[in-house]
């Protein structure tokens, strides 16, 4: 016979609570798996995210007010100084633009001689970034422009430095931008110097992309500039993606991994450019290089 009183009697409330806990945990895990694998919930999630719109708008208000205060409080001297700097910058870019225009005209003539498809002109739309912080693990930004402003799914987003990412979700008033650095993002790239084709993957880190599986024999060096290759048809060719800052062997020692520093500024609180002109016909037309290689 046991001489002790035994474990404390289980209260029925505890059992019911545990069962409810298990039910909710199961539901949460099911949601996580559904959202993680294949994104089957994409439709429902897109609908439900409309609920978040007013909160996003409210949370962006301090940023907007701060901007307005800053521009209201700017003194005459500050404005004059800023004006001078901007005028100089405009002069320099104007001169550069003129030189590039000559090159572009040459390029168009040569393309005409080759009979290659002409590329579409660059047509962009300016969109401000909503000043809010989303989940830091997922590299996303919210733009203050949506379907009402002509933003479409899959549009390429750039800034003055280079490629930023693509639009993955469009709402009437806002759009979600998937940054290059998100762990779900990959972009086909080509080395500007040697023409080696690779794929740049995001790793969820703030300012680093990865170029895995570089063959040891390929002509890749630290400092190489990397631009989009246009393969796959999602991104137009020729936009700067970044610069290789480090090369290291992977764990199999048969390939190299390159660390890539993005050329665009991947933070919030600024304006970005949405490429309007991404016609699938122009992106899918073979480039001259592809034609000449047998």
């Amino acid at each position: 016979m046991a001489s002790y009183a035994g474990p404390a009697p289980v209260r029925p409330g505890d059992v019911a609570g545990t069962l409810r806990l298990l039910a909710y945990l199961g539901l949460a895990i099911a949601l996580i798996v559904l959202d993680h694998r294949g994104g089957w919930l994409a439709q429902g999630r897109a609908q439900a995210e409309l609920l978040a719109q007013p909160l996003w708008w409210l949370a962006g208000a301090p940023g907007r007010i701060g901007d307005r205060l800053r521009s209201d409080a700017a003194t005459r001297g500050q404005l004059a100084r800023e004006n001078r700097i901007l005028r100089n910058a405009l002069l320099i870019s104007g001169a550069r633009g003129a030189r590039l225009q000559a090159a572009a005209a040459d390029n168009a003539r040569l393309r005409g001689l080759l009979g290659a498809a002409t590329r579409g002109r660059l047509d962009v739309q300016l969109a401000p970034i909503l000043d809010i912080d989303l989940d830091p693990v997922r590299r996303r930004l919210v733009l203050e422009a949506g379907a009402a402003d002509g933003v479409r799914m899959g549009q390429t987003v750039i800034d003055a430095g280079g490629l930023l990412g693509q639009i993955i979700d469009v709402k009437p008033r806002t759009a979600t931008l998937l940054l290059l650095t998100d762990a779900d993002h990959a972009v086909p790239v080509v080395l500007a110097r040697s023409g080696v084709r690779l794929v740049a993957y995001g790793r969820g880190r703030q300012d680093l992309l990865e170029l895995p599986d570089i063959p040891l024999s390929s002509d890749v060096r630290v400092g190489d500039a990397v631009v989009t290759s246009g393969l796959g048809g999602r991104f137009p060719a020729g936009f700067p993606v970044g610069r290789i800052v480090a090369l290291r062997p992977d764990h199999s020692r048969a390939f190299l991994i390159g660390d890539l520093k993005p050329s665009a500024q991947l933070d919030r609180g600024r304006d970005v450019l949405l490429l309007r002109d991404a016609p699938p016909t122009a992106a899918e037309a073979p480039t001259p290089a592809e034609r000449t290689t047998p």
Binding site: I29, L31, I32, R45, L55, D133, V137
Partner: protein, 157 residues
């Protein structure tokens, strides 16, 4: 006094979500306290009739939508937090405020571990290591938040 009437509960949760979205300098971002967990913990302790596992799950789901994280991740974390709080509620209520803060700090740390485990299980990238300091900040914020919410709730009730 257990039933909190009026708007205190939904408004405080909406405020917690807003505080989670407010832009911070990039260096401070990992240190952002988990406002939603703090506010929810208050309601689970003080108004168990209204704030239970269901509310925790719903708030977590809402937070997932608002912060753009994996759907269900914060719902799971909030459910675990609310369950532990419910089990120890009878003791927690009569702790002095500083002991309560310690308990909340432990809960927030546990929440970080749960989040890290979810990320490991899915192969998702981890948050920066500085984010492990955030529970300490949450612990420090518990006492002022508790006093503030108490004042609000009792005035309304």
């Amino acid at each position: 006094m257990i039933r909190a009437r009026g708007w205190a509960l939904p408004v405080s949760i909406a405020l917690a979500l807003l505080l989670g979205l407010l832009p911070l300098p990039p260096a401070l971002q990992p240190l952002r306290p988990y406002w939603l967990a703090l506010v929810l913990a208050y309601w689970v302790i003080e108004a168990p009739g209204q704030a239970g596992l269901g509310l925790a799950f719903g708030c977590g789901l809402l937070a997932d939508l608002v912060f753009g994280s994996l759907l269900g991740e914060q719902a799971l974390r909030m459910t675990v937090l609310a369950f532990i709080l419910q089990r120890f509620r009878a003791r927690l209520r009569f702790f002095p405020l500083w002991q309560q803060s310690l308990a909340i700090g432990g809960l927030l740390l546990n929440d970080r571990i749960v989040a890290a485990a979810i990320h490991v299980a899915l192969g998702a990238p981890q948050v920066p290591w500085t984010a492990w300091w955030a529970p300490l900040l949450g612990m420090a914020l518990w006492a002022p938040l508790f006093v503030l919410l108490d004042a609000w709730r009792l005035r309304r009730a």
